[in-house]
């Protein structure tokens, strides 16, 4: 089964998503910021799927920064952005321009499992 990198500044979402994946036998690496992803570099790069919140807090590096860091570090897995924001923001626009799938919160559990199983079968 794949290992999933979760990066969301909302600790509740990150923890519950991790628990959800664990219930389905999927291991996850839970982080809440760019710095935490970098701090967990080996575990992060070992994941095959990264679910990144686009906005990681005011004044903080965004999910786009995490994506660029993963690219620089030769991350081999798939990246999807998760956002709760419908309002157009510069960060969201930047994420759209990268051509990375953007999923809007709240996302169904089944959708998360489909993403994970797609990576497992890839």
């Amino acid at each position: 089964m794949p290992r999933i990198l979760i990066c969301d500044d909302d600790p509740d979402i990150a923890e519950v998503m991790g628990e959800f994946f664990q219930d389905h036998g999927i291991d996850s690496v839970i982080t809440h910021s760019f710095d935490e992803v970098v701090a967990h570099r080996p575990e992060a790069l070992s994941c095959s799927l990264a679910i990144l919140d686009v906005n990681l807090g005011f004044g903080q590096p965004s999910g786009v920064d995490v994506f660029r860091w993963l690219q620089r570090e030769q991350f081999a897995g798939t990246v999807v952005f998760l956002t709760g924001h419908a309002v157009t923001s510069a960060i969201l626009e930047g994420a759209r321009m990268l051509g990375v799938p953007i999923l809007s919160k709240p996302i169904e559990g089944e959708t998360l499992l489909r993403l994970a199983s797609a990576e497992a079968s890839a």
Partner: protein, 260 residues
């Protein structure tokens, strides 16, 4: 019956400015002319009329200063400052006619008409009536009392000025209405945009907790088989909140597209 929309602050300021200018012109102009006339023709009914007009113009200014700012107050002050011009011009024409002296009153009528057309605060009806009455006075003096104007072509030239002045009043009133409507439309659009942004903000703020609850419900369903009713209730609640979130987004989009 529809109520006229409340005047905006710029409309009131413009109306007050017009009324104040008219009152100051009346006050200063008539005071200066009273001095000139008292020296040239001596103390007379004309000088008394001019001094009376000075007093009324001062009252108009005081009212404008003391009463709360409004279009109505500006219109009352303007009327007080301007109406006496008619009487003063009448007295002046009769005075000079009786004396057999010559003064070109036509230009005074014309100046007064254009002044009214330029400075009238808001509703054009009373100012237009005053302009017409000035023209009528000129014609009546000529044909009923035989006061022969000095300039050739009078009183018809003055009547042409009256038509021009009324046209200016109507044009200004239409422009004021257009500007006021544009300001109201802009304010309405800004209010709709604020509502749309608020709806989107509410939706955005609700999405993260909703995500937590949705996944939490899925976990409860899997981990607690004996709590299926609770898990199902949570699922339904999440479903309703999801629908509400989509409705908020639709509503915000419809506000953004709302016809103004």
């Amino acid at each position: 019956m529809t109520r006229a929309p409340a005047a905006t602050a710029p409309e009131i300021i413009e109306a007050r400015r017009g009324a104040a200018t008219a009152a100051i012109i009346a006050l200063a102009g008539q005071a200066a002319l009273a001095v000139v006339d008292s020296r040239s023709i001596g103390w007379s009914a004309l000088v008394a009329a001019r001094l009376g007009h000075v007093g009324i113009a001062a009252i108009a200014l005081a009212l404008l200063w003391l009463r709360p700012p409004s279009i109505r107050a500006a219109e009352v002050s303007f009327a007080l400052a301007v109406i006496p011009f008619q009487l003063v011009l009448l007295v002046s024409e009769l005075e000079f006619y009786a004396r057999g002296d010559v003064r070109d009153h036509g230009s005074w009528y014309q100046l007064t008409m254009l002044g009214i057309a330029t400075l009238a605060p808001a509703d054009p009806m009373l100012p237009a009536f005053l302009v017409v009455m000035l023209g009528v006075q000129r014609v009546l003096l000529r044909f009923l009392l035989g006061v022969v104007p000095l300039a050739p072509g009078e009183p018809w030239l003055t009547l042409i000025f009256a038509v021009v002045a009324v046209g200016m009043l109507v044009s200004r009133a239409r422009r004021r209405e257009f500007v006021a409507n544009a300001a109201r439309v802009a304010a309405h659009a800004a209010a709709l945009e604020r509502v749309a942004r608020l709806l989107l903000l509410v939706r955005d703020r609700a999405n993260s907790p909703l995500q937590t609850v949705a996944l939490g419900a899925a976990i409860v369903k899997r981990r607690c088989p004996d709590q299926q009713r609770v898990a199902a209730a949570m699922d339904r609640a999440v479903h309703r909140l999801r629908k509400l979130s989509k409705a908020l987004q639709r509503a915000s989009r419809s506000f953004e597209r709302a016809p103004l």
